[in-house]
């Protein structure tokens, strides 16, 4: 689950990590009120207006602006709230439709009073799949795309692996602060920052923390200026307080609906919809569609129980996409009996009345022959197959 910048900062702050302070606003009036509070608190008229969407590169698309006074704040807040923000990471990239900005963060200017005395760093924590342990990745080159930094100057990107049973040890946080070239009170503050950041990562069952930039301010404080936080969905049962941070408005509405039906669905760009039991077979079915001359319109795992109600909701989800020209259903019946699934398909089809695209059903496994007969004798516009290759050939046929 991805979080907004302001939500990630809330988690960090609750673990004692210093953050760029700010307030969230959904209207210009709220933004003005937040501005007043922040100016009073910081003693500085300058604030940053930051669009809150689930995508990076917000500054490039005009979603982050500096406001030097209330007039500028009103102007920027008005412009950013409600805009379709296009960044390299929004769907379709900067050429795409962008994402609607519903919230803005009014944040203090962490670079005051002396911009030139500040220094930006990069810090992230994630789980390294190959090493099977958490790793802190950090760099002296903050505020930039870390992949580009790693490409151009790999010696400036450091990694510190953390022992899962011991957690982060004091020498490790010191090493990080030394490698970042810090000394004096900034060094001490970084040690504290990293220690608490790691506690926050483990404590919230995060899968990614990215602090970029992580700022050394003019008065030698270490501050998280921007955060990207993803949490492990499988661990949310331990964190009801974090689970409520899910912002479904940032997710694909069809995917959200599918989840409510217990379907695992990912919307894609192609023309052939698919409905499969099991994630691996679903990916393999998408591959078959491509090899047959089509392109998959979705990933959809119906899970273990492919009864009529589930099949019908899967049909409805797939058919929401106007690009779909055909649907391939691929079920390997192991514990689930194919004849039951076939009956589910027939019932769902009849209940929906008229399905506008050709349907290919491939049922293999327990009672596959009975299932094929059931489909073939239903009188519906459904082509049936038993072998995967037969299904592939039928996809080519209907697309031709």
């Amino acid at each position: 689950m991805n979080l907004h910048e302001y939500q990630g900062k809330e988690i960090l702050a609750s673990y004692g990590v210093k953050i760029q302070k700010g307030k969230i606003a959904t209207t210009v009036e709220e933004a003005v009120a937040a501005y007043g509070d922040i100016v009073e608190d910081s003693g500085n008229d300058v604030v940053v207006v930051k669009a809150q969407i689930h995508a990076g590169g917000r500054g490039k698309g005009g979603g982050v602006k500096l406001a030097k006074n209330e007039k500028e704040l009103r102007e920027h807040a008005g412009n950013i709230l409600g805009m379709m923000l296009k960044t390299p990471q929004t769907p379709g990239g900067i050429e795409g439709p962008g994402k609607l900005v519903r919230k803005i963060l009014i944040a203090e200017d962490s670079y005051a009073p002396d911009f030139d005395a500040c220094k930006e760093y990069y810090v992230s924590i994630l789980m390294d799949r190959e090493r099977r342990q958490n790793v802190v990745i950090y760099s002296t080159e903050g505020g930039m795309n870390i992949e580009e930094v790693a490409e151009a100057t790999p010696h400036l990107v450091f990694k510190e692996y953390i022992d899962p049973t011991l957690g982060m040890l004091p020498f490790q946080s010191r090493k990080i602060a030394f490698n970042l070239g810090l000394s004096g009170s900034a060094f001490k503050d970084m040690v504290k920052f990293i220690t608490n950041l790691y506690k926050a990562f483990v404590g919230s069952d995060a899968s990614l923390f990215e602090i970029n930039p992580c700022l050394k301010s003019a008065n030698d404080e270490i501050i998280a200026v921007d955060t990207k936080v993803s949490l492990d969905d499988n661990a949310l049962f331990r964190h009801p307080d974090l689970a409520v941070m899910r912002d479904v408005l940032e997710e694909d509405p069809t995917e959200v609906e599918a989840k409510e039906y217990g379907l695992n669905y990912v919307n894609l760009d192609g023309n052939v919809g698919c409905m499969v039991n099991g994630a691996g077979l679903a990916m393999a079915t998408m591959d078959i569609i491509k090899l047959s001359g089509g392109a998959p319109a979705n990933f959809l795992d119906v899970g273990g129980t492919a009864d009529a109600a589930r099949v019908e909701s899967a049909f409805r989800i797939i058919l929401k996409d106007p690009a779909v020209k055909a649907i391939l259903i691929n079920i390997f019946g192991g514990i689930v009996r194919c004849d039951r699934v076939a009956q589910g398909i027939v019932d769902a089809y009849k209940s929906m009345g008229n399905i506008r695209v050709p349907i290919i059903v491939r049922l293999q496994g327990t009672n596959a022959e009975i299932a094929k007969k059931l489909i073939d004798e239903s009188g519906l516009e459904v082509r049936s197959a038993i072998l995967l290759q037969e299904a592939a050939d039928l996809v080519s046929e209907v697309l031709a």
Binding site: Q133, G270, M283, T285, M286, D287, I289, I335, Q364
Partner: protein, 290 residues
């Protein structure tokens, strides 16, 4: 011979009396698996499916000589269940449970590191040695005793491969479903290694998918140690970057994670790569005949 599992394995089921545990235990017993009991904390002393129930894994090891466990407990208790089995001296643990938090698995891996135990899974269909024993949720009837070893991160896609092998008049030595999570107990390479050393296995089918570096690691090992042919398939050739495709581990993070990149590495390492999942059985047959 077979790997990890045979008719002599003494199996206990963790989460024995639950709905899933009960259903699949019945199926496993029907298949001939030597299930000697189950573990459900608080239900020790009872009988279920005619077998004794124990409070702890340690009790089942002491009283029934359990050397193999299969886990059906819910995600929040699963990591603990794995470590309990390992602590009790169980040698093979299969964890079926899907949805275990990643940080729990990080701890489990560290816990298992210096112990003489093999974990398969989590989020997997289990292991089957056809004609001997089934330790998992796969449909037994599609299998046939034979000489093809199968390693896979998936459930139903493994069944698909098994079915193709059986329909091509071959059979399976042992099929190992290693699981679809980012952290799994047994890696692709470790499973391939077991089958490569198994004298009854003549050919290996390796089914991978997008995400992580396990297939590349296995491929490099195969290149250096190959004594029998390996057919490979990587699912997710059309998957977009950055999206989780059902399995928690099936997500393209970097360029090395894509199906295309993995297939290229597999090919470079002398594996017979099939582009279509419909050609897995057929290709194995051709490779063995040539």
């Amino acid at each position: 011979m077979s790997v990890l599992l045979n008719s002599a394995s003494r199996v206990a089921v963790q989460g024995f009396t639950g709905k899933e545990g009960t259903f699949h235990s019945e199926q496993m017993i029907d298949y001939g698996t030597n299930i000697v009991g189950g573990i459900v904390p608080g239900k020790g002393g009872q009988k279920h499916l005619g077998k004794p129930v124990f409070n702890t894994v340690a009790d089942s090891v002491l009283q029934e000589g359990v050397d193999t466990t299969i886990i059906f407990v819910p995600p929040r208790f699963a990591a603990d269940a794995i470590m309990e089995s390992a602590d009790a001296g169980v040698k093979v643990i299969v964890c079926i449970t899907e949805g275990i938090p990643v940080q729990d698995m990080v701890k489990v891996k560290a816990y298992l590191k210096n112990r003489d135990v093999r974990l398969v899974g989590p989020n997997c269909p289990g292991i089957i040695t056809p004609g001997e024993a089934k330790l998992g949720i796969m449909p037994g009837f599609i299998h046939r005793k034979g000489s093809i070893g199968i390693v896979s991160r998936s459930g139903t896609l493994t069944y698909e491969a098994v079915d193709q092998v059986t329909k091509a008049n071959m059979g399976q030595s042992t099929c190992i479903g290693i699981g679809g999570d980012p952290i799994v107990g047994t890696t692709t390479k470790e499973a391939v290694e077991l089958l490569m050393m198994d004298p009854e296995t003549e050919g290996i089918i390796m089914i991978g998918e997008i995400g992580g570096g396990m297939e590349a690691e296995a491929a490099h090992w195969i290149k250096a140690h190959k004594t029998k042919p390996v057919v490979g398939f990587i699912a997710g050739q059309t998957a977009p970057k950055g999206r989780t495709m059902g399995h928690a581990g099936a997500i393209i993070g970097g360029d090395d994670d894509t199906a295309e990149a993995k297939m290229r590495i597999l090919e470079e390492c002398g594996i017979y790569v099939v582009k279509s999942p419909a050609h897995i059985g057929r290709t194995m047959k051709e490779v063995l005949a040539s």
